[in-house]
């Protein structure tokens, strides 16, 4: 989100008392709801679709909000604040919960003293993620209650309820959003924020907070007692609500699929669950006694369905609904009303796909083009640069999760011994390196393999929209702070071969890669050049480049960069040349970075 937009919106929210209804995304509404609930403390690591929650929250008056180095740290920071008596919010995308799972599972035992709400933003359909895991499973696994709003208004209300439940039951609480809830906008009615008073103090209670086996065994019993109390509570929780209409057909659902279902089957009966864990068994039985045919409409796993079937209640779920991808009104109608006729117009041939691409002037492009010449196996990581795997750059060959590139490169190099020498590379961005790349690099220095690690340092967290991190020198709140020196850090981990290069200088980058690949033992290259979209880097756009059609031989070397402004026009031939077409550059998109001029062998681009 643009800073200008956030600031404008929040200013108007705080100043105009009369402004009661505003248009908000689910993420903005969660931030607003937390503020209204008197929350003044939050930590997160950015990740789509969750990022805007902290960006927006951080702009409210009197709050403390931080980008932590990773999700595990963020949860620990929030636990610390909660133990001091604060209401603490911690925010992450679904896979971030994997990183943070360790403290989450045990804070479920200790309880929270103040309040702790963990927001997990899941990504059905994998719009911007490496997997499609259904984090409702974490609620059952860690024995933590979970709420799931269906739109922005509910998101604002449910975050408040989540904090209230956390305080009442001394438990961490999950709030689950999905991409569609987080990034859809709808009309939200605002409420006055609760008055905040800092009541923090030390609460000494070693039996409750020191999780050694003898204490944890006792807390384990408390967790089960809490579970029983919550099971009673959810039976009368007003956001678990029945809408009895048609008694022949009904739907049990939660979150965004409720909206889709209401859209296509407005006259069905509904049991809309605001809390998806634990389930209100009596209420579900009551609904089942009133409605003949019941569908369970839920995206991803049969989480509700399996629990309801285990109660001995007959429902229809994944027999007809898909397991994968997000739903929409069409999916729900097609699953229930089979064999519908569809009369749609289609273009006469399939359309070329339009995948996302690295931006014009992106510093990653030159690095991958250079790396490509060395015939290596490249382990990738999570960031914009992952996009380089596609044709024509084909810059990396694996990608699993945040920080994985380094350990994987090290492991492959060790396994392949001489065969892998000078051929195994790991690539990772600066923010991702600081998130979870430091420990694997320490492992690599400690256990000594021949892999080459390249850190793409573009001075920001670009993928999620320019968030600060420990290498940028600024905090989320906009304060100047200590800036980590990557070279000193890498050297302190025990890496001796370190080179700093400029990836926009194609030839220098290529020879640095060649040299470091040949080195004995682990090497690290730091490719430093700021993200082209990064405002603080203040990159002055240079005049757009042009292709001289008299010099261009149509060899498509520049097309190999996959730079958005560069296209190739078939059929523009030239006397005395075998060329079949010519390259040209869209001036409106080109920012004159000059990489294409460096790779053109005919000097046709200037």
């Amino acid at each position: 989100m643009r800073d200008f937009e956030i600031t404008r919106k929040i200013q108007s929210l705080m100043m105009e008392v009369n402004l009661l209804k505003v248009l908000m995304s689910g993420n903005e509404a969660i931030a607003r709801g937390a503020y209204e609930a008197g929350v003044r403390f939050a930590a997160a690591y950015p990740g789509t679709p969750s990022t805007e929650i902290l960006e927006v929250f951080s702009k409210y008056d009197g709050v403390y909000a931080e980008w932590s180095t990773n999700e595990k740290v963020a949860v620990e920071v929030a636990i610390g604040a909660a133990l001091a008596g604060e209401k603490a919010m911690v925010v992450m995308k679904h896979v971030g919960v994997n990183v943070a799972a360790d403290p989450i599972f045990t804070v479920s035992y200790t309880g929270t003293n103040g309040a702790l709400v963990i927001i997990t933003a899941d990504d059905p359909s994998l719009y911007s993620s490496q997997n499609e895991q259904d984090n409702r499973n974490y609620a059952r696994f860690a024995k933590i209650p979970m709420l799931e709003p269906a739109d922005a208004q509910e998101a604002k209300e449910y975050i408040k309820l989540a904090f209230a439940i956390s305080e009442k039951f001394d438990t961490p609480v999950f709030l689950r959003s999905t991409t569609r809830v987080s990034h859809s906008k709808s009309v939200v009615t605002l409420d006055k924020p609760e008055k905040y008073e800092n009541k923090t103090c030390f609460t000494y209670d070693a039996e409750k907070y020191v999780m050694v086996p003898q204490n944890a065994r006792l807390r384990r019993v408390e967790v089960e007692k809490r579970q029983q109390a919550l099971k009673k509570f959810v039976e009368n929780f007003p956001e678990n609500r029945m809408e009895i209409n048609n008694q022949n057909a009904g739907i049990i659902t939660a979150g965004m699929p409720y909206n889709y279902s209401k859209e296509v089957f407005p006259d069905y009966s509904y049991l809309k669950l605001g809390i998806v864990y634990p389930l209100p068994e009596k209420l579900i039985r009551a609904f089942a006694s009133k409605v003949k045919k019941i569908y369970v409409v839920e995206e991803l796993d049969p989480f509700l369905e399996e629990q309801i079937k285990a109660m001995g209640i007959k429902v229809t779920g994944k027999e007809i609904f898909p397991y994968n991808n997000e739903f929409d009104p069409g999916v729900i109608r097609d699953s229930i009303e089979k064999n519908r006729q569809k009369a749609a117009v289609f273009y006469k041939e399939p359309l070329a796909p339009r995948p996302p691409n690295l931006c014009p002037g992106c510093p990653h492009r030159g690095l991958f083009y250079a790396l490509n010449k060395h015939k290596t196996y490249v382990h990738g990581d999570i960031g914009c640069y992952t996009l380089s795997y596609m044709k024509p750059l084909e810059g990396l060959h694996s990608c699993i999760c945040m920080g994985a590139s380094i350990g994987m490169a090290h492991g492959m190099s060790k396994a392949m011994k001489e065969k892998g020498k000078g051929k195994v590379v790991g690539i990772i961005g600066d923010s991702t390196f600081l998130h979870s790349g430091i420990t694997p690099l320490l492992d690599m220095a400690y256990n000594q393999s021949d892999a080459l690690i390249i850190i793409l340092d573009n001075s920001t967290t670009a993928m999620t929209g320019m968030q600060e991190h420990p290498g940028t020198g600024y905090t989320l709140m906009g304060k100047k702070t200590k800036k980590v020196n990557l070279k000193d850090l890498i050297s302190a981990l025990g890496i001796d071969n370190i080179k700093i290069i400029d990836p926009m200088d194609y030839k220098a980058a290529s020879s640095a890669i060649k040299e470091e690949l040949a080195n004995e033992g682990p090497s690290v290259i730091v490719a430093q050049s700021p993200c082209i979209l990064f405002k603080r880097a203040n990159i002055k756009p240079k005049p757009p480049l042009k292709v001289d059609p008299d010099k261009c031989e149509g060899c498509r070397a520049c097309i190999g960069l996959n730079c958005p402004p560069i296209s190739w026009k078939k059929g523009v031939t030239k006397k005395g040349s075998k060329r079949k077409g010519v390259s040209f550059i869209d001036e409106a998109l080109c920012n004159g970075c000059g990489l294409c001029a460096q790779v053109c062998k005919f000097g046709a681009i200037s």
Partner: protein, 194 residues
């Protein structure tokens, strides 16, 4: 506002970087100011980097789903020529289509693996009765800034929405920093006249 609970849907489609999300934000504010319930949905993240971008905008007395059902969308605003063809399954048979003539080639077209549908507008005109095509980039340049092409398209869309011009203008004024307001209002007018 109509009395029945008919929910209308607009689909914005184009390429990341064309200002689609900003345009759909503006129209939602306009619809809300006009007294309707409104929901809109799009996906951020990867889609911003030159990939396909769509935004569903739905309004009426009470809106549940931010996503439209296939076959139900009344209006398509396509910011790029080829993208106008990608989502036809979502449209009603009598849909209105507003299409910008700009062509942006995806990588497969550049690499020669796939053709570009140059005849997109003719195809649309053959299959739909209400097709409005315009060169929004050129009009934006005339208005004073090439980046206002999205607002030119909003101007063209406003002709088909039956919402008071003063509401549009107020929302546009609120949506940009002061120095850009005049150019955007000019771009909006260009779209109305196109």
């Amino acid at each position: 506002m109509s009395d029945n609970n008919e929910v209308k849907s607009i689909l914005f489609a184009g390429v990341g970087g064309q200002g689609i999300l900003r345009a759909s934000d503006i129209i939602c504010e306009v619809i809300m100011e006009a007294g309707f319930d409104v929901k809109k949905s799009e996906v951020h993240g990867m889609a911003q980097r030159g990939g396909c971008v769509t935004s569903h905008v739905r309004y009426g007395k009470k809106v549940y789903s931010p996503l439209a059902e296939p076959g139900t969308i009344q209006t398509l605003v396509s910011f790029e020529k080829m993208e106008s063809l990608r989502y036809l399954g979502f449209l009603k048979k009598d849909a209105t289509i507003i299409v910008n003539k700009e062509e942006i080639y995806p990588p497969a077209v550049n690499m020669g693996d796939s053709p570009y549908p140059f005849d997109a507008i003719d195809f649309l005109k053959k299959n739909y009765s209400k097709v409005i095509s315009l060169n929004a980039v050129e009009l934006a340049q005339k208005a004073g800034n090439i980046k206002t092409a999205n607002v030119v398209l909003l101007g063209a869309l406003s002709n088909h929405m039956n919402i008071d011009q003063s509401i549009w203008q107020n929302v546009i004024k609120k949506s940009f920093p002061e120095k850009l307001v005049k150019i955007n209002l000019a771009a909006f007018q260009m779209g109305i006249n196109a």
